[in-house]
Symmetry: C2
Subunit: 412 residues, 2 copies
Amino acid sequence: MTSPSFDFAPLLAEGLPPAAAKWTGFPKYNFVGGNNDADQVPVDKLIAASTAVLEREGATLATYGLNSGPQGYLPLREFLVGKLKRDAAIDCTADDILVTSGSLQGLDLVNSILTQRGDTVLIEEDCYQGSINRLVRRGVNIVGIPLDKGGMRIDAVAAALTDLKRKGIRPKYIYTIPTVQNPTGSIMSEERRRELLKLSSEYGVPIFEDDCYADLIWNGERPPALYAMSEGAGVIHIGSFSKSVAPALRVGYIVAGWDVLSRILAIKTDAGSGALEQMVLSEFCTAHFADHVPKLRKGLRIKLEALMEALAEQFGTAAEFDDPPGGIFLWVKLPDNVDAPRLYQCAQAAGIAINPGPEWSVNATHSKSRLRLCFASPSVQQIRDGVAALAEVCRQEFGVPTRSANVERNKS
Amino acid sequence: MTSPSFDFAPLLAEGLPPAAAKWTGFPKYNFVGGNNDADQVPVDKLIAASTAVLEREGATLATYGLNSGPQGYLPLREFLVGKLKRDAAIDCTADDILVTSGSLQGLDLVNSILTQRGDTVLIEEDCYQGSINRLVRRGVNIVGIPLDKGGMRIDAVAAALTDLKRKGIRPKYIYTIPTVQNPTGSIMSEERRRELLKLSSEYGVPIFEDDCYADLIWNGERPPALYAMSEGAGVIHIGSFSKSVAPALRVGYIVAGWDVLSRILAIKTDAGSGALEQMVLSEFCTAHFADHVPKLRKGLRIKLEALMEALAEQFGTAAEFDDPPGGIFLWVKLPDNVDAPRLYQCAQAAGIAINPGPEWSVNATHSKSRLRLCFASPSVQQIRDGVAALAEVCRQEFGVPTRSANVERNKS
């Protein structure tokens, strides 16, 4: 192709993000992204599921929405009804569920029906980058709520709601990842959930509950979903199979009352989410989800332990973190003189990908020396080598950790 | 679930479309939607493709974007490079292609980077409803260009561009479905394409070429794509596998230069389109696309003939239409006293789904008595029975056709 001679630049809409860079492959040490453990993709069972469901219902691919209509493949929604009841204490029917193209489409759809430029929402101060970026792009005012080890601080929620009310502002929602928070990994207690629901009801501000990591809790124990505790009143719940089965399968879901789903369906103009992925997931999950997930968690826990050990070994006391109760990431605090965005750039040059804290937070000061490290995708060996390489970069750039961990240990 | 007691209504964003109605299953006679022929879904070959590709690369599902990055599964893009060259004379590389979740996501993405409220675009006057609705929802001013049997009328394009220029308006694009236009079925000649490109270049207005029906031409012959003729300068091309393989597989693509794709990628924040669907399609298409499509076309042609015969038999001269060179729909003109939206409602009550012309046009007068009838999904028998039922409804409501076709024929 000869180089185009037409200039699109003057025609571009206002406020677009900068152009994307070309993808150049994965970094050597990849500690970013919600990727999972390649060894744990249940390939044989997915093949069996695909064969079975296509033999039985393959011809239905001729119709948008299969024979299930725009809310998504009915057997998948029926699996979810059982799964949500069992795991999250959610009492719902297939009519309360909308299958989406990943939970990211869920974020887009909920934002589209509830928010517009100038609106205000409350979110956890350290928060999933994709959720922050979506709100920033929509021109929504974000009020960050500080977290502690139990998740979103209720006193801060109450203070923010009171303050906003005094200013005559009714926020559009309180966004929370209460069950394995991203990036901190915390799980909000049932007591705190109750308090949050009370505030939500008192101020008339709904809760947007993102439960997409909730399947990955080491001991499998979790409080009921906020949606369950509210009996669906004033809560929109989203979830995903990205973390529990495979991220490249783009299948998530929204659980909400028909008053909400009927507005969302009206703007979900994509002719349905990918049907084959729904069919295969449904067939796989109905038979194997309950066995697959504990096995996956066990493997993830081993990788997390490798990461924590490597950090302790390479960074010593310079790296502070809590052992999270589940998930695929670790939120790490480095000494105050470490500038995470600069570390990110130096690490990138050395083939190490990390998430600098400020991209995962709306509080620049608090997150300046923090990192998010994802551990599900790299092997245990890559985790060890990658953390050693990161420590070396950090030492060269910021003088911490003060010296090679091995030397330190030998001396102690 | 007890009925929710929270009122979301005061929190909804402005300008949302009305709430969706609950899906109640397919109508008895279904002449709407881009659905395809269930008997022609290549189920066995899709199973074989799924098994082969998952055995070989299933573990890559652990990573967003597989091993191909955000532009989509590389083998699928490589298949497209060959297919687009062979069928549409497009000379491009895998880097010029972005795989999307159906061509509908392509529409959304292109609209998002190029248009904002108050902008102007040119589109074919009778046009795909999804394209019209997207523009209306974005607050974009639509200038409809009348069509003749050769597609978009170039004299009208020239007049519109001159008029807009005089007003100081530079439209954001000229949207066209040049190869099996939706709903008229026309194919724009190479000569007319050349004239359109000349106007595009003269006025600095790019062309947005939607080629999603182009695989379904009865004799397989088509002019080069506008993208090919322009060598990519000033043209954005989209296409889909929905019509050629199966609509419930949500896989489409955008072909454009990096200046455009890099802006689109920056707003495609969905973590990639469904990977399993891309993998299975790629595996299937590489081996079987060239054989599958002619067989599919042959079956569709039989259904179209059944539809045209049924219309002639039931409506006689009251139904006017051209025998389209391809596609899955017929654009039918009924007598002027037939109000298509009212016919739509009466037909719906009788279990017959049709697309009333005004939903497929920006010219209310011109489209008032027109219908779009999709013929790929119903069986030949359903087509015959459904058209007879539609004629009966139309006669009862509007007095045309004047009497039962059989009686009429027997008398003639």
